[in-house]
């Protein structure tokens, strides 16, 4: 009763500050959140700190701060060629995948959204079949196809299959967005004498920045983190993206956990920085892909 009265008397305050939360409830909320947060963050912090330790220190003192900060663990990796090579490989593959995914799926989705032609519904469903199974199901025939095309151990051998497997979801997202654009734009443009091509370039694409960002983020994150396709298509270490490189590194320094931890930290650092810098867009992008 008192709650609703207070809300009726001070609606502005309620609107700004939200419902008042009782002290007991607050204790329950915060203690739950802090416990879960600890479970999330302790492994990550221990990894980052472990990179500063000596192996002996790690053994006796896995949780605590390093007794003696070994900056050289990180320094050697930062100055090594392999770290930058892997990051560069991942970046090339991810950027090319994003560009191709966005271009190809926007074009196809535009056709599905605006052009009426025989078989359009059937073709759309054809693309949507790609949503139902992972690349792993066809990984061996995919390997043989890439080999026969002479693309084994090239960036293209990774990029093309990745783009192909992203097309279904991306076309769906683009098409839904394009159909939501006001119909009047379309009509007016055609009365003005614009054709489809003109309409696509000068009106649809400039208005589609949010969905381009969404599709771009989804395919960038997927490509940046992808493991199975590069694992199967690439042979030479000089072309390895970082998830493969990190596994090789682990193989080489199998018991030197402090070095492996420093390497893990440095490879996930870009992801963490970008995530916190652009969190709103990334969370919206990755969940929008699921919801829409």
């Amino acid at each position: 009763m008192t709650d609703t009265e207070a809300a009726a008397i001070a609606p502005r305050k309620a609107g700004l500050g939200g419902q008042r939360v009782a002290l007991g409830t607050r204790v329950y909320i915060y203690s739950s959140l802090i416990i879960v947060a600890a479970i999330v963050i302790v492994p990550l912090l221990a990894t980052a700190l472990g990179g500063f330790k000596t192996l002996g220190d790690l053994r006796g003192n896995a949780f605590g701060l390093p007794t003696d900060w070994q900056w050289s663990n990180y320094g050697d990796i930062i100055l090594s060629q392999r770290y930058w090579l892997q990051m560069g490989n991942s970046m090339i593959i991810a950027l090319a995948s994003v560009f191709l995914t966005v271009m190809l799926s926007a074009m196809a989705a535009f056709t599905f959204a605006h052009v009426k032609f025989f078989g359009s519904g059937f073709l759309l469903n054809y693309f949507l079949m790609g949503l139902m199974f992972p690349a792993a199901t066809a990984i061996l025939p995919l390997f043989i196809r890439i080999r026969d095309l002479g693309l084994l151990d090239t960036y293209w051998g990774v990029i093309l299959p990745q783009v192909a497997f992203h097309l279904g979801m991306s076309i769906l997202l683009f098409r839904n967005y394009f159909r939501g654009l006001p119909e009047e734009l379309f009509d007016a443009a055609f009365v003005d004498g614009a054709g489809y091509l003109r309409f696509f370039w000068s009106i649809t694409l400039p208005l589609s920045r949010p969905i381009i960002a969404t599709v771009g983020i989804i395919s960038f994150v997927a490509s940046w983190n992808s493991y199975i396709i590069p694992l199967i298509m690439l042979n030479s270490e000089s072309k390895y993206p970082w998830p493969l490189g990190i596994m090789v590194y682990r193989g080489e320094f199998s018991t030197d956990w402090q070095l492996i931890l420093a390497f893990i930290t440095l490879t996930i650092l870009p992801t963490i920085i970008v995530f916190f810098a652009a969190q709103k867009h990334i969370i919206a992008g990755l969940t929008a892909g699921a919801v829409k």
Partner: protein, 313 residues
């Protein structure tokens, strides 16, 4: 941009214009070029790298083939018989089932519970949301390696805890009985944040007035959740479970650095099985048959789930 401005000015005429143009749409310039230019790149890429490989997997699965030359050694259904007689594959099936069960029974409820906490307007709620979502953004490979360190019986966090208690530290990942439980814990750690975000979006879409009405009627917190929030979240729950199931079936990247499917195949999933027994040994026929089985499971689960649970969403 000036073009869109000029069109905005014509907006009131839109209704009339659309009447006029809808009839003429077939005559709009450039329809054929669009179909010819815009569709084929995606269509070809998709056909060559998604659809054909699945068809080829079905074809290869009837042969004994090492991948060189053409498949000639027809073995009919033997590859499929071998798969279902293979103990490691049956273990993989059980494990995939376990992952699905844990995702639905533990991860989704946990995510929903946390969503109801972080959706409240308490200080720091947004920061907690961010933090909980972070593991989802990290690569599976990195997560797998980090947890391999955590579980390490010599240098890891588990070892530190056991040493602090003056107990001998276990090597869980090398223990047939414990390894799969460890994998399941990492799966929940890695993915609960994604499901939580889905629920946060779902909760924010619920009309506050409905909950206020329940308040006025004197409903308790649990009653509000059980009778108002949960029914209104139905479509989000169904979606979340759908993603949990589909994601569980594909699990591979995280297993490889964590256990590699071992010890003694105790943590194989269907995809790690395909990799170790099909790809590594270049057993194209056998591996393709595994792929086909995985394909059939994925597609039939996705189809029947959508039919049964998501037909109104």
């Amino acid at each position: 941009m000036s073009q869109t401005d000029s069109m905005a000015a014509k907006k009131p005429l839109g209704g009339l214009l659309s009447l006029l143009t809808r009839r003429h749409r077939t005559k709009i310039r450039g329809k054929l070029p669009v179909i010819i230019l815009f569709l084929p790149p995606a269509l070809i890429l998709f056909t060559v790298f998604v659809i054909l490989p699945i068809g080829e997997a079905a074809w290869y699965s009837f042969y004994d083939w090492n991948g060189y030359g053409l498949p000639t050694e027809w073995v009919a259904l033997r590859n499929y018989q071998l798969i279902f007689r293979n103990g490691a594959f049956l273990q993989a099936l059980i494990n995939n089932g376990l992952i699905i069960a844990v995702s639905i029974l533990i991860q989704v409820p946990l995510a929903l519970w946390l969503a109801t906490l972080v959706v409240r307007r308490v200080r720091g709620a947004v920061a907690f949301r961010l933090l909980f979502f972070l593991p989802y953004v990290l690569a599976d490979v990195a997560a797998g390696l980090i947890w391999r360190f955590v579980y390490d019986g010599q240098f890891g966090l588990v070892a530190a805890v056991f040493n602090a208690l003056n107990m001998e530290s276990p090597f869980w990942l090398a223990d047939k009985g414990a390894a799969m439980v460890c994998v399941l814990a990492v799966v929940v750690w890695k993915y609960f944040g994604f499901h939580m975000m889905l629920f946060v979006a779902g909760l924010q879409a619920i009309d506050k007035e409905v909950l206020e009405a329940a308040d006025i009627d004197g409903a308790t917190g649990w009653q509000k959740f059980r009778r108002v929030t949960l029914p209104l979240l139905g479509s989000t729950v169904r979606l979340s479970v759908f993603f949990a199931v589909i994601g569980s079936l594909q699990l591979f990247d995280m297993i490889m650095p964590l256990t590699g499917g071992g010890p003694f195949n105790a943590t194989q999933t269907m995809v790690t099985f395909l990799y170790s027994f099909g790809v590594m040994r270049m057993n194209v026929g056998f591996g393709s048959a595994v792929g086909v089985v995985l394909f059939v499971i994925c597609v039939s689960l996705a189809f029947s789930y959508k039919r049964v649970f998501m037909k109104n969403d």
